[in-house]
Assembly symmetry: C2
Homo-oligomer: 193 residues x 2
């Protein structure tokens, strides 16, 4: 495998199918990762944006607010236990990354920690919106870079039909229950999105 | 099949796995339906909310702004061609509902049109947020009711592993290409969401 840059024109395809993500951020030398089911594309290039819901109880929220940056990573199905483990708060276990064998890395010159072994990464700069953050726990990010694992995403397309279930994505429901991404279906279309 | 009410405590499970939705609304006697890949849960009960992105070019946007109500419906995989057809704007084809055999119905006493034959329905009252709507094309809805088809959603749980592919959900990528919902995976968890 190799991580390849994804043009910002195509970043939305990394999230469009509604995968569960893990959110990462760093501030004051502290790195953290949390799972999130509630993240979504907000706009296309030339204004690529995402939304992300961060509860006031989430430790990662303070890192996002402090640094003004975060990343979304799209885990593989074989990371389901990691996604559940990252649903635990760092407030309850300050060693949750080490205890769960999470390895972080940094890509290009962005100071945003990324979790090794995911299918795709979307790096974002927070667009401060104090009303949304306070009233709705809603954060908006400007996408500044994106990467994907070329085993599953090539030339702007997911290739899930060519890989085993372990390399598909996760779609969280509740109570530790996910669905993995299923079969591809193509309907001829000139839809703009 | 029978459409059953979904308690508002459980409505988020209808969207958590990231399905593509169709948005419906009515104003001034005009009903419309459009497809949308960008909708997401924003909060749990007792404050159940969703986000929805509606481009300024979308006809349905004017109906949502005018009436203050909309519904999200989660189509079955066998409705993929309908989802693509509803991606066409009513501005380009004022007869798009009739031309595509869309049948609408109304549930309980809400004056929001719903598309027959979908797996789940989330009825929403717009929470006006002029800045979000103008700057980000972002709409926030308070969930007022939810329903699901009991062939696939029972007692608060999707039962996709028990049905054929045609009764799974759709996850849109781009260019007429979807993935359908795949196999269930369960990781023991005490995650709060």
């Amino acid at each position: 495998m190799a991580l390849q840059p994804v043009p910002l024109e195509k970043f939305y395809r990394l999230l469009n199918h509604g995968p569960t993500v893990m959110v990462s951020a760093k501030h004051g030398g502290v790195e953290n990762v949390m799972s999130a089911a509630w993240s979504c594309v907000l706009d296309f290039y030339p204004n690529p944006k995402v939304t992300l819901v961060l509860d006031k109880a989430a430790y990662t929220r303070s890192l996002v607010e402090g640094s003004g940056y975060f990343a979304l990573q799209v885990p593989f199905a074989n990371q389901a236990a990691t996604v559940i483990a990252m649903g635990q708060s760092r407030k309850d276990n300050p060693n949750k990354l080490a205890d769960n064998g999470i390895e972080l890395f940094y890509q290009s010159d962005a100071d945003i920690p990324l979790v090794k072994g995911c299918s795709a990464y979307i790096l974002c700069k927070l667009i401060p919106e104090p009303h949304n953050q306070q009233t709705h726990d809603l954060f908006i990010g400007q996408v500044i870079a994106a990467y994907a694992d070329d085993r599953v995403f090539r030339n702007g397309h997911w290739e899930f039909d060519e890989v085993g279930d372990e390399l598909k994505n996760l779609h969280y429901v509740a109570g530790g229950q996910f669905y993995i991404t299923g079969k591809g279906v193509n309907v001829k279309s000139d839809m703009p999105f």
